[in-house]
Subunit: 442 residues, 2 copies
């Protein structure tokens, strides 16, 4: 057996970095700041080249961090073509040209580390395959829940478990907005605005508030947990724009907290449920206490039982923590000659269950005419779709003369619920279905 | 480069198991139950021999689990001397003869996986050294917080971080008792009894309730986080036997929850604080919501920021989840020819700070004579030890004619606090110091 310890000590692994935005800047800073500690824990990492369009800015940053043996370039070929560079970090985000860069790096025989969830959630399978052909590593811990080491936990530490359920609060922006709505009693819009002022939400917040960002992360999580290939377009998504302060308030009265949750569950050996939607979670559930911009992934394994991984899902240094953790792993594999042995291998083929075939409890808030027999008509509409009600919670008459009814159903097939909604809409006594939110069962 | 994937596929790694108690039984069950899934995720594990004193029981268990190619023995040499067995799992617990068995296994060139916290917390350093000499793995994820993959996270995923603080709720028994006291208002003794009835506490509960079990886990956590050698005898320990329902109640009124917490913090480059004691934690802190027998380890890294790892800290299958996770890692290293490259290498030498040199806020509950000027005398005793008070919370007169005073200090050096306690004891107006509990600062 090779004396790997001696080999590691003798080696410095040379790294190339593409992108010097928030996460790229944090990664370069972390490698500079904790370089000595990282070397003490294994072997030295040396960032040989940083590729970024703005070369003078890059050079200034390199100087500011006191890196004396790092050069700047605006051409990524300078990294890909450099035979000394063995690991390339891609942190420019988005699909193009990141995809082409990652492909070029892998084809050149480099291992690649990325934080790019868009890329992994859409082109993961082909990149895993390419990495495997090249016997290179393709690592992307930072693409899901920032600094939280959930992918490595699923791949390694929990490898003896059948994963029964994953529930993730994996988008900090929406979690901040919902936490604010909950703590201040304000409605969605002012809380979104506050998130934008604080830099937690972008000027165009669609990706976050409509759940698309969370859907990408759930596609990646489900692919890893179930050894299958799930892309973002397969994930059913509902965002949080329709959640009103009234719903937050009713939820609290009922002992629930509303979170934007990503859910992944296997259904038999050949299917899986993978969705993102607002969910009422019992206040005693560990995820209910995950507030503000924090993320958490709740995992239930058949052996492990319930577990949760909590931390910062975004930000420069928290994300850099995951990126550099992957770089250390990739570098160790380079030195040990074991690259490409930690990736996804045998893909199980799983179809994603249509949302209509999923089962949930539902909270439904209706505005109805304040007349006799209205409740009986509504109950009948549900009964006709074979839905039984757990409780009818409240009824208050509004200034408009309409009454508000809040119901919680028992576990129902979503298709049946949609049918019942159709029936309700056709009832003259029903003004509108104001809200419909899934409820986490026991 | 070797084609590791092909090598793994072609290989079945043969494993020996010592011990068939709660965790040993769970481990054998998990390997049988999820063997196919584990093979799909990498390569097959085959338990060739199980060593346990009661051979007929072992044979019955093997048959019950449908294992056809596993034999029983009562002599561990049958495992150590078998050249086909490459990984040995030690699950008998305690120091002797586990130490001798682990040493023999490592000397025979086997990798060893254990859940034995007593062994690692007392003889870790010599076993790491022996494993390193033998280029073998010595893995012990299950020794801390059961199924929660905290050691691997610290070693791998968080390897780019300086760990600023670790706070662990790492003993399920005491967490159950304190949770019960908090939710029912009962005192310590009845809650301990309830824990014993449920099998959460042993007939002799000393190890748990006096904090010794938690101290072992913190010695291991601190050793890994700070790359140093900290043994259980270096850890300052206070248990929970003196916590009364009055303290739980005052804590709640003040917005705190009392938990038995293990704490590890580096102090400069050469020292560390490693202790176990009851701590008042703000109710909004993620650890405050960790209830019943659940464990959690809260980790703050300089890059990652705050994170938390939550799950079951004990039990047959949750602990087996960590054991088998380690066996998979050890087997992968066997197949890849990279054994011994994941252990602790460069030990930094750190002394553990004496408790007198640590700083904390304190909650102090005093029983005093209900006379004029008593508060002035008490305040003076604190001032004489250079301790300033954050707040004087309450004063109620008891049936005995004594008054109760609850104070919270500002951050103080513990030696100064001890001095002030001496002064208080000498005051005629002070009947007793009923409680003294550290308070987590902001």
């Amino acid at each position: 057996m090779q004396n790997t310890k001696e080999a590691e000590k003798a080696r410095t692994v040379k790294v190339g970095l593409i992108g010097l935005g928030t996460v790229g800047g944090g990664t370069l800073q972390l490698l500079a700041q904790n370089g000595r500690l990282i070397a003490d824990r294994g072997f030295a990492l040396h960032v040989k080249r940083v590729c970024n369009l703005d070369v003078p800015y890059t050079e200034a940053k390199i100087a500011e961090l006191g890196l004396t043996d790092t050069t700047a370039t605006s051409d990524f070929h300078d990294l890909v073509d450099d035979p000394e560079i063995e690991v390339i970090i891609e942190l420019i985000g988005g699909i193009h040209p990141a995809l082409e860069m990652v492909q070029a790096a892998l084809r050149a025989g480099k291992s690649v580390v990325t934080a790019n969830k868009d890329l992994v959630a859409s082109h993961g399978a082909e990149l895993f395959k390419l990495a495997e052909e090249q016997q290179a590593d393709f690592l992307f811990e930072a693409s899901v829940a920032g600094g939280i080491p959930i992918l490595k936990a699923l791949k390694d530490s929990l490898a003896a478990n059948n994963i029964v359920e994953i529930m993730g609060v994996v988008n900090g922006t929406t979690n901040y907005i919902l936490s604010q709505m909950s703590s201040t009693g304000a409605d969605f819009q002012p809380c979104l605005q506050r998130a934008q002022e604080l830099g937690y939400a972008e000027a165009n917040p669609t990706n976050d508030i409509e759940g698309f960002d969370a859907a990408r992360k759930m596609a990646i999580l489900a692919s890893i947990a179930y050894n299958t290939n799930i892309t973002e377009d397969m994930v059913y998504v509902e965002g949080i724009t329709k959640i009103s302060k009234f719903d937050i308030d009713y939820a609290a009265q009922l002992g629930y907290v509303i979170k934007l949750v990503g859910l992944a569950r296997p259904q038999g050996d050949e299917a899986a449920e993978v969705c993102v939607y607002p969910l009422m979670i019992p206040a005693s559930h560990p995820l209910a206490a995950v507030n503000d911009v924090f993320n958490a992934v709740f995992v239930e394994g058949d052996a492990l039982g319930q577990s949760m991984f909590y931390g910062r899902g975004a930000g420069s240094l928290p994300t850099a923590s995951a990126v550099v953790g992957d770089v250390i792993a990739a570098a160790r594999h380079v030195v040990n000659g074991t690259r490409g042995s930690y990736g996804l291998r045998q893909f199980a083929s799983r179809r994603v269950l249509p949302i209509g075939d999923c089962f949930n409890k539902f909270y439904i808030r209706l505005m109805v005419q304040d007349k006799p027999k209205v409740l009986a008509q509504i109950a009948e509409a549900f009964a006709d779709s074979e839905i039984s009600l757990d409780s009818v919670i409240q009824k208050r008459v509004m200034d408009s003369g309409l009454a508000e009814i809040v119901l919680i159903t028992h576990q129902v097939r979503e298709a049946n619920l949609q049918e019942a909604m159709g029936r309700l809409h056709r009832l003259a006594c029903v003004d509108c279905v104001a809200s419909m939110i899934r409820v986490k069962g026991e």
